[in-house]
């Protein structure tokens, strides 16, 4: 009897395995039309300020894949938190597993961390959400909440000490007695007519998404670094969040094998 149950369970899980596949997302960080190079390269924003970037990182979460007919697959929330850092190559390619077979034409996600997880108990904050671990520089302790997007660097125009600028954007709306700005924004990225086919685990499609860090500074509000060299919890943070919600764009779709090394090579990541 036991044996039968065992076989039955195997069969069920095998069937499940065949119904799902994986995809990878590669984030390509740029400043306008140029690649983002930390520390060494000089850029210009729309206001004409010259700047260098020393740090650029952000959370994405609550990922959804959208089918042609508009229906969506919502990733299990616990598996949908990712911290992407320019300084860490590995973090710029993420893999989403157990995606149901099908054809998808767009992806959407939240830029930052949803309000529920910002208010959740400590037991639900593992991995990239660990405030003593991976998230230690993406968490405000005195005003408890995650930083969603963080960019730092220097600019000759900056009026702050040592010409630095710091944009730390967070704030999830608050909880209980505490009401704050809500800088949670969403991004939806259309695959431009291409179709993402999730078939099996043999071939893993890779979506390349371009993240344009200059969009923090350019957009509905062109940021003058001299006027706003540091933006954290203040009202101006909403302007930057409004700007950066457009920083993601579709840059290509590749089908790759499960051989990770080969994939990395193909993406020029070695």
């Amino acid at each position: 009897m036991k044996k039968i149950i065992f076989i039955l369970l195997c069969a069920v899980s095998l069937a499940n395995a065949q119904k799902t596949g994986s995809i990878s997302i590669h984030f390509d960080h740029v400043i306008g039309n140029e690649p983002l190079v930390l520390n060494d390269k000089k850029y210009k924003n729309a206001d004409g300020d010259e700047f260098k970037v020393s740090l650029f990182q952000y959370f994405i979460s609550n990922i959804r894949l959208i089918r042609k007919d508009g229906s969506t697959y919502v990733m299990p929330q616990d598996q949908s938190y990712f911290l992407i850092r320019e300084s860490n190559k590995g973090s710029k390619t993420i893999t989403l597993a157990n995606i149901p077979k099908g054809k998808f034409t767009a992806i959407s996600f939240l830029i930052g961390i949803d309000s529920a997880r910002n208010a959740s108990e400590i037991g639900q904050r593992k991995g990239c959400l660990d405030v003593a671990g991976e998230a230690k520089d993406m968490y405000w302790a005195w005003n408890s909440g995650y930083i969603f997007v963080k960019m730092e660097g220097t600019s000759i125009q900056s009026t702050a000490k040592n010409n630095i600028f710091m944009y730390h954007i967070g704030l999830f709306g608050g909880i209980g007695n505490k009401k704050t700005l809500n800088n949670i924004r969403y991004a939806t990225i259309d695959f431009g007519g291409e179709t993402l086919r999730v078939k099996d685990n043999k071939f893993v499609p890779v979506i390349t998404i371009k993240t344009d860090a200059s969009r923090l500074l350019n957009g509905d509000t062109n940021v003058e670094i001299a006027k706003n060299p540091t933006v954290m919890g203040g009202p101006f943070s909403a302007k930057i969040a409004e700007n950066y919600k457009t920083m993601f764009s579709f840059a290509g779709l590749d089908k790759l094998t499960t051989d990770i090394d080969k994939n990395r090579k193909a993406l020029g990541m070695n």
Binding site: A119, G123, A132, G133, K136, A141, N177, K178
Partner: protein, 501 residues
């Protein structure tokens, strides 16, 4: 009346029972006159070993960057878990924070933490003082690393959580477990409310009635706070602290601070977020006649064209009498919350590790250092005799001597300078604490340690000195006589190091 009482007891009995199953009645129970707590006990059930671990962490300075500051440094039990006589709390390298440390008790009933309410969950609060550069100035990751490599903590985490793993969740939950047990509900007021054989005097009853009329709209309920944030019309507020505005950037919340509980006021002076008032008389005077009209002033303090709350001298007197009934001596003296009750004492850092092998060649400097010792011994006698003013004066003399000192040898200069600064800071606080022997004692241990390190490193003593340490009382002191108990009582063991000439 009788019937009401019965129903009340029955209801609170239900609340108590439902909690008993979660946490065990000995570690945490809901006083029958209290509402239901708001803390999420279901995700952090208290255990004896968890509370013990939390208590050990609370009293261990390992969680600060230079291992000198613990939670207990700025939250002392005898002061209702705030800091004796300190207007503003201070952290590593003697830096000052901008606020008066808040008393810690009845935290299970609070939904927001800190004067500005920036933290919504007790579990996350400790991250703030640990990482604040002017408090403990340490990273959480490094705290965990230090705990992992300590000889005692892996075993403590194992008894609390089943395995030796030390991670963020376990660390923060253990601290919460201990802090949640700090329930203060045994004041005269509580006994009166629970019909436990206490009767109020006529003045206390009148004070309570006045309190209900004049104060209880904000300091409401059995916790004596409505947990709101308000601007109470303090004058001379400065732009270095906007209160709740700093958290939410809402113009209407400028200079709003948490309405604190009024329990244990006799132990928690000074008062207000910046510790500006040293007595309750000043506090009541403020509400009666000194409330400043600003754009942000709370509406409750600007009614019918009158600023503040009208209080006659007689009314103030009676309210003060009532407020005293909220003092819970049981709580501030209960040994289960003290460092002394730890099953495994915290491994103290060996002060002798900091000693250097130096020599003072300059005769003047050597004499000055000996003058420091003389001054120190006078401060000690004054503190021992409870003469805080005399101790303050001597501390001022010590500051003057210290200011004259200057060591030229390059290899020794930096070391000397470091302890010279530390001693100056300690002396300054003993001077400023001339109203309170308790406050002076807080700084006396550091003064003793720093002077010991300096004179032992430079071997600059003209007489035989004895350096005594009593771990249970957390007190160190230098003496010129071999058996000197200073202010320490019931010490099981005093370790003495003799500095012979």
């Amino acid at each position: 009346m009788r019937k009401e009482t019965k129903i009340f007891l029955l209801l609170s009995g239900v609340a108590f029972l439902s909690f008993k199953s979660i946490t065990g009645p000995e570690l945490f129970s809901v006083p029958t006159n209290f509402p239901r707590p708001t803390y999420h006990f279901d995700s952090n059930p208290l255990s004896r070993a968890g509370v013990e671990l939390g208590k050990t962490l609370f009293y261990d300075s390992i969680i600060s960057s230079d291992n000198t500051v613990s939670c207990g440094s700025c939250h002392q039990q005898s002061a209702g878990f705030t800091q004796h006589g300190h207007v503003l709390s201070h952290g590593v390298n003697d830096q000052l924070t901008k606020r008066n440390s808040m008393p810690l008790f009845n935290l299970a009933w609070s939904g927001s933490f800190g004067w500005d309410g920036g933290v919504h969950d007790l579990d996350f609060f400790a991250v703030s003082p640990i990482t604040n550069p002017v408090e403990m100035n340490e990273s959480l990751a490094n705290v965990l690393e230090k705990l992992r490599s300590s000889p005692q903590y892996p075993a403590l985490f194992k008894s609390a959580f089943g395995t030796e793993e030390i991670n963020t969740e376990r660390f923060l939950k253990a601290l919460s477990q201990f802090m949640l047990t700090m329930v203060s509900a045994n004041s005269r007021y509580d006994h009166y409310m629970r019909y436990e054989g206490i009767e109020f005097t006529k003045t206390e009853l009148e004070g309570m009635e006045l309190f209900k009329k004049k104060c209880a709209s904000c300091h409401s309920g059995e916790l004596f706070t409505d947990f709101s944030f308000r601007n109470n019309g303090l004058t001379h507020l400065t732009e270095n602290d906007f209160g709740q505005f700093e958290v939410n950037q809402n113009e209407n919340d400028k200079f709003k601070f948490k309405v604190p509980s009024l329990r244990n006021l006799s132990y928690t002076a000074p008062y207000m977020h910046d510790g500006r008032f040293t007595t309750l008389e000043e506090v009541l005077e403020h509400y009666d006649s000194k409330v400043e009209k600003t754009d942000f002033l709370d509406k409750a303090l600007n009614k019918d064209g009158r600023l503040g709350i009208a209080l006659t001298p007689d009314e103030k007197q009676k309210i003060m009498v009532f407020l005293k009934t909220l003092d819970d001596e049981d709580f501030v003296k209960n040994p289960i919350f003290s460092e002394g009750s730890l099953l495994n004492p915290i491994l103290a850092k060996n002060i002798n590790d900091d000693l250097m092998n130096f020599k003072i060649t300059d005769k003047t400097q050597r004499e000055l250092l000996n003058q420091c010792v003389e001054s120190y011994l006078k401060i000690k006698s004054a503190i021992q005799a409870n003469k805080s003013k005399v101790a303050g004066n001597e501390a001022k003399k010590l500051m003057k001597v210290l200011a004259k000192m200057n060591i030229q040898e390059v290899s020794q200069k930096e070391f000397f300078r470091k302890y010279q600064d530390k001693l100056f800071f300690d002396a300054e606080h003993i001077f400023e604490g001339e109203q309170s022997t308790d406050h002076q004692l807080d700084h006396f241990k550091d003064l003793s340690d720093h002077l010991y390190i300096l004179i032992a490193s430079f071997k600059a003593y003209e007489q035989t000195l004895y350096f005594n340490q009593c771990q249970e009382s957390a007190m160190d002191w230098l003496s010129d006589i071999p058996t000197d108990l200073f202010v320490v009582k019931n010490c099981k063991e005093i370790q003495t190091k003799i500095l012979t000439k």
